[in-house]
Amino acid sequence: MSKTEVVLRVAGAAGDGIASSGEAFAKICSRSGLHLLAYNSYQSVIRGGFIWLQIRASHEKVFTHGNKVDFLIALNQREFERNCVDIVPGGAILYNSDKIKPNKDKINENIILCPLPVGQIIKDIGRNPILQNTVALGALIKLLDLDFENMANVIRDYFGKKKQTAMEVNLQVSKAGYDYADKNLPQFDFKLETDLDNKRPVLTGNQALSLGSISAGCKFYAAYPMTPASSILHWLSAHSIQTGMVVKQAEDEISVINMAIGASFAGARSMVGTSGGGFSLMTEAIGLAGQTETPLVIINSMRGGPSTGLPTKTEQADLFQAIGASQGDFPKVIIAPSTVEDCYYSTIEAFNLADKYQLPVILLSDLFLSEHMESVDSFNFDAIIDRGEIVTHKPSDNAYRRYKFTPTGVSPRAFPGTSGTIFQATSDEHDDFGNVISDVFTDPEMRTKIMDKRMKKMDFVKKDLPIPKLYGTDDAKLTLVSWGSTFNVIRESMHFFSQENLPINHLHIKYLAPFQSGIQKILETSNDTLIIEGNFTGQLSKLITMETGFKINHTLFKYDGEPFYTEEIIDKVRDII
């Protein structure tokens, strides 16, 4: 039977052009109506080091980048040897045979070698070593029986009119690779169900977060460069003229968040983005946003910790950091988006909650979610912007109470410049007017009242959140529990379980704060539970026990820096049931 799904890995050294080859292949697939998911495994090295990019494409939605590889494009000898073990029997390696000499003893005999004598193939066209990628891509398009003209268009768009010569060279080289494969390489039985009329968007989690912020009307974004959040800064900067957003790289994350609080205080929707280290520096000011009731969206794209940790690897170990961010008690919302699509909607939701309840909202992404590319069906662009209650006119009693006591705890906000609304926003404890009651004018009764007012907002946030969803059968032998970017890989595992008639269901927790009451009920009616988390200590598991008293029975933790693989989840579940 023909294969309808393909997994490609491009492996080489940093600086070899792997990302652009991968992106080109991704576009070729997505413009052919295919779904895809791509993951880039790299190191914090600009040149050298080893990296690979893996793309899985199919006419059906794919949820992971796959484990085993159908085609490997190896760009150097070392990566040839390192990666050939991950190829499925019947799979193939494409490589520049001028440079790479396979050691046949080390290669499984079921793997098909596809040598590409690049020098000879492109001898009439050009000499740039990076052209070997284009040769291989051209050959691969032939082996997969994909449309050459579609590839040519991707190349044309990539180089654009400004780089006419490079575009011409790459077009010729890709055709040469394509023709070489046609005449010299074996045939493979792939039948990808393409549809050239159905072009899908492909984007990363960070791009979806950024796009979400544009839809939400974010007007100020500040950041300090830090992997894996930097691409938000780059992307929003590149689009700032078009969007009218002020994008500010500041001297450190402390300045970043204080600037954003200032901009938000002045009335502009504001967001900051960072990873764990920068988030640590922002911590004090998250409390400032809480205390002054200034709306703010904070993205923490988690990477491996502690300290500098694993700068280019993924982890889900900042949950407790987010929960405990800043001294004292104050209302704060924590949302963990699960997929690229969810990144878009979660950002809009975060802005609306931040404004409506005047509090900081933390979006917990991670390196895998932030950086992997995924095809999506288009988004709903009818974004609903809810800026909450805003005072636009002078209050009739001429006494504006910025922190007025109300049934919901939400006090209508005024932007500076509005007649009759002068007030003080203070990090010190204050009364309903905003006047300081911290040291000299201590007022225990007022302190209790204003604290109650702020915290009351969380009860109403809770009511606004959708009820937690249980995926799969109600009557399961085992309930999988997860948060954040593991959603997709568990979804794929769930597909396997249902094919195998294994009674498993899945509870995915998106809102970490406020903690939703529905979760306890779901867990208490489950027969057995397994938590799946990308950290060492089981932070969500502990949070669940803390909030509900419920103890999860089984655990699957991973902290090697790589995302979860379906096989790991399936094996664990099989062990349990």
Binding site: G262, F265, D382, S427
Partner: protein, 291 residues
């Protein structure tokens, strides 16, 4: 009502300042109030931002919007307010510990940006609110609770730092000369770009060395010496005078484009006034890049 001319009392709140009797900060407050009165700026268009420290309590005593934030972070918040709405008059305030110690990095970077705001630092060369430790502007050898054998560090020179960091109005006032201080403050508020007013503001409780008398014996006015405020080199020379003679007045001023002038995001007016009814369409258009 807003056409009536405003009196100094219109810019005062009902809160009584918490400073010790004789504190230099009273003169700074008076300087700000009289500058606002002279300029007849609408209270509703002014935001005073501060950090933490005795002097940072000043926001509570001025009838304008106030943002009394975290220790050392007044300048980033003030910058952010300018980004959000650059029609507002923004005054950042604080002490030497706040601005030249924990917030020193922000101070330098804000000057590099030449953001149009005024930064008034009440410099008393000691930490007052925490009861008398050495501050970044304490003289070397100064005995304090945290330096019982004398401070081992050379003091920060905020004027010199300002001159080499790109601020476009750099001045020093003295609380013992309130009318001169008010004049400098007023000029700083009308200056376009980052203006620094470093104020010699004696702490009568914890600094028994740099007292009003100590300063009176040393200060002189730059304008009396016909100092050329457009000359950076002579300003740098003046910035290094201390101990024997201490200059007050304007060291340097320049007309330069501000960050707000140059940021393309602010070309269409204040961010807070930008319409939000077309954001979805904007995203829809950008989404095409991903296909």
């Amino acid at each position: 009502m807003e056409t009536e001319s405003k009196k100094i009392s219109d810019y005062k709140t009902n809160t009584t300042p918490t400073w010790c009797p004789g504190c230099g900060d009273f003169a700074v407050l008076r300087g700000v109030l009289s500058a606002l009165t002279e300029l007849q700026i609408n209270s509703k268009d002014v935001v005073v931002v501060s950090g933490i420290g005795c002097s940072s309590n000043i926001t509570g005593f001025i009838n304008s919007y106030g943002f009394h934030g975290l220790h050392g972070r007044a300048v980033p918040v003030a910058s952010g307010i300018r980004f959000g709405n650059h029609n507002l008059k923004v005054i950042a305030t604080g002490g030497d510990g706040d601005g030249y110690g924990i917030g020193l990095g922000h101070f330098i970077h804000a000057m590099r940006r030449n953001i149009d705001l005024t930064y008034i630092v009440m410099n008393n060369q000691v930490y007052g609110l925490t009861t008398g430790q050495a501050s970044p502007t304490s003289d070397k050898g100064m005995l304090t609770k945290s330096t019982p054998t004398g401070s081992l560090e050379v003091p920060v020179n905020p004027i010199a730092l300002g001159l080499i960091s790109g601020a476009t109005y750099i001045s020093r006032g003295f609380s013992g000369d309130p009318s001169h201080l008010a004049m400098i403050t007023k000029n700083a508020l009308t200056h376009k770009g980052f203006s620094l007013v470093d104020v010699l503001s004696p702490c009568v409780t914890y600094n028994k060395i740099q007292t009003y008398e100590w300063f009176r014996e040393r200060v002189y006015k730059l304008e009396d010496e016909k100092h050329n405020t457009r000359n950076l080199d002579s300003a740098i020379k003046k910035a290094h005078e201390w101990d024997v003679k201490i200059p007050i007045g304007v060291f340097y001023e320049a007309n330069q484009a501000t960050y707000e002038d140059d940021d393309p995001g602010l070309k269409n007016g204040p961010l807070v006034e930008q319409p939000l009814d077309n954001t979805g369409n904007m995203s829809k258009e950008i989404m095409k890049e991903f296909i």
